[in-house]
Homo-oligomer: 426 residues x 2
């Protein structure tokens, strides 16, 4: 009656998922829409920065040789022969002992080779100033290409566009930006116990929260969610909805119906479709009944109907494939080390993922559960910004132990977090 | 000729800004649009969770008293009188030595007070099972209200909605969510040297990157940017554009023209408007010429035209006011302690903000500059996820010293980061 499933280790499960190919697509968006998207091409400097020799200060452009003899006892007198506002250019010729008034960012006039800051000069008339010290060639000049040379790669493809990258895109004239298309991830919730959000509670029923949670997780990871509704536990309905959804999406997530209960149709649907099932049980808590399969080159994720298991299953198995479809090179959640803020005395044979909050206490990161960690409990999800990672074994964990945590809101990501995870050393 | 300005400390400048009132507005959005927005009301549990006594496992609902004598030598035989799928309810009466097959999440039938997991029973016919041990009242029952009681505040107003909070909103039937309206922040770029992004480079000119960068910063912080274009350095044009913009926005940011150069019209415009100027010089690098003023109950930020100064000025002075307008209680960038990854040998009288990248090296956070830190240099902005905070003084900083950093991509925020900032202890 009860199907026996063999759980595989988390690392192996993630590897079986990411061994599959992804199929990134690209599109052009205007720079105003680029924030938060992922670069589909390397960002290359289209010109030197600065693109001309320029003044970093308000002051006077000079021929440094003219100041050779200048000192505070014998200041040298200069004639002001022009003025260059930022954006304008001085086209005249600067003769010996002539200077040009220059604004921050303006181009150094031909013949000049240094800038004297305004504060270091003395105005004696509208057309005459004194300089009291010597300046060398190159003093206070930002040379062409000093910051960045034309052709250099400034940001790698697959990087998420932050405000600094927007500034770079603007600087180099990318008014249109080639980004990856957001992969379309279908979401189906199953379970006759589920109510729509706007329905009143009824005996034995709960509202469908997983689908909305997953849609937000998809958005956070950089994808586009497509909701196919909430289905009753009926095989034919679920099968045809799955087929219909698969035709329209890049990947499909179902939540619920994945277990071995009498109303869990996901296994039968995958069988009926002829999908390749990579695994249907993982040695993890929560989420041990997670199923991942592939059909028609599309990943199908059968996540648990339990909110916490569903949440963790998404972050572990869906997110890396989603991020890879965005060309991201660090598709997994970033792993860092933190001090455990509480005891976990009870050992567990499976690796546990505990929703937690990370705090910076002086020089240390401290991770503590964000709520009661029963897997059916939803209220701890709201405060979680990381997952505590407690490898399975015969020992529990003590407050103060060093453990690994996976960051949920981080932007750096990780290439492969599944090595050298700290076990209990109690 | 050169106006003398007195720089004020960063802490004092931030305080002068946030002493001003903010004017949050609220709106309702559908739950599908709620991710990333800020709650305008506390999220209150509209019912108990669970809302009924339920089974956390697939199994049989029993009357625990019937198992009193059960052991492996003398298993007790039970009659299966019904089956409850999740979402359905058993309406019959459970008599002695009767059980009901129950699915995960389903409501416990009246009269039953424990659940036996499927694996611990033995099926002897379709209608009969054996139980081999004793169970106590309450075994494997999730009681009504066990996780959350009706009326409890689960998430405070002003919190940014993450996927876990979306799950909570769905659970409690918030198909519409009351969130704060995104404040509209106007952006004006000034400078005759500025080209539009799609214009080819020309002698003496640079492309307008600050406006686009600021718009992305506004989006990251949770606001809505409104771009009023790029203006030449002309007093009348700038004045009328400023007036027009102010009429349409909640706050206004200008970039450029804020210094004391001949083409810097921001001071004159603020004077002409009759705006209250809080400061026009801050003891910080970059960004010392930042000006903040108020007119008609709207904040006006005169940020530097220098990209780094503009970036830092936004995060220090605009972001906290923007976040407060979203009811956020931790409106400043979060401050954490990190080990300095490089030397900063040159002392500076002003507090420095260095764009940096934070890495987690075992148990320590290490912050290193994300590029060459010249204030005119844009390329280091792309890789920055934090700002190194180096208080001014007569000493430089050495690699390995503990310093404060402000996190740029963080979601927790800080109530007031400006106390006890670690100075150089070289």
């Amino acid at each position: 009656m009860v199907e026996k499933r063999k759980p595989i280790p988390v690392e192996e499960a993630v590897r079986k998922v990411i061994e599959n190919d992804v199929y990134p697509k690209t599109e052009k968006v205007s720079i105003e829409e680029a924030y938060g998207r992922f670069l589909a091409e390397d960002l290359v400097a289209s010109h030197d920065v600065p693109s001309f020799d320029r003044s970093p200060y308000d002051g006077f452009a000079i021929r440094s040789i003219d100041t050779k003899e200048a000192n505070s006892d014998q200041p040298v007198r200069f004639e002001v022969v022009g003025e260059i506002g930022a954006g304008s250019v001085f086209t005249g010729v600067v003769e010996p002992f002539q200077v040009v008034r220059i604004m921050t960012g303006a181009q150094i006039p031909a013949g000049c080779d240094a800038v004297v800051m305004l504060e270091l000069t003395k105005e004696i008339s509208e057309k005459e100033i004194l300089i009291k010290r010597m300046f060398k060639k190159g003093d206070n000049i930002s040379y062409q290409g000093e910051d960045t040379q034309k052709g250099s790669i400034l940001v790698n493809k697959g990087t998420q566009i932050n405000p600094g990258i927007v500034a770079l895109l603007a600087t180099f004239g990318y008014h249109e930006v080639t980004v990856t298309k957001k992969p379309i991830i279908g979401v189906i919730a199953t379970g006759s116990e589920l109510l729509n959000i706007d329905e009143p509670l009824a005996p034995g029923k709960i509202r469908n929260s997983n689908a909305y949670m997953i849609m937000a997780q998809i958005e956070r990871a950089g994808g586009q969610a497509e909701y196919f509704g909430k289905l009753d536990d009926d095989f034919d309905t679920c099968l045809s909805a799955t087929k219909e959804a698969l035709a329209q999406v890049d990947m499909l997530i179902t939540t619920g119906g994945v277990s071995v209960g009498d109303y869990d149709y996901v296994p039968a649907i995958l069988h009926e479709l002829g999908a390749t099932v990579f695994f249907n049980k993982v040695a993890m808590r929560p989420g041990s009944v997670t199923t991942v399969a592939k059909y028609d080159n599309k990943m199908i994720y059968g996540l648990s109907g339990n909110p916490s298991a569903c949440y963790v299953g998404f972050e572990l198995f869906v997110r890396p494939m989603l991020r890879r479809t965005l060309y991201n090179q660090f598709p997994h959640l970033q792993k860092v080390k933190a001090t455990l803020g509480v005891d976990f005395p009870k050992p567990n044979p499976f690796m546990r993922f505990v929703r937690a909050r990370l705090d910076y206490v002086e020089t240390q990161l401290v991770a503590s559960p964000s709520g009661v960690d029963k897997s059916g409990i939803v209220s701890s999800l709201g405060g979680a910004d990381c997952l505590l990672l407690l490898p399975g074994g015969t020992r529990g964990y003590e407050k103060g132990m060093l453990v690994d945590v996976l960051l949920l809101e981080d932007h750096q990501g990780s290439e492969w977090p599944w090595n050298n995870i700290v076990p209990s050393y109690r």
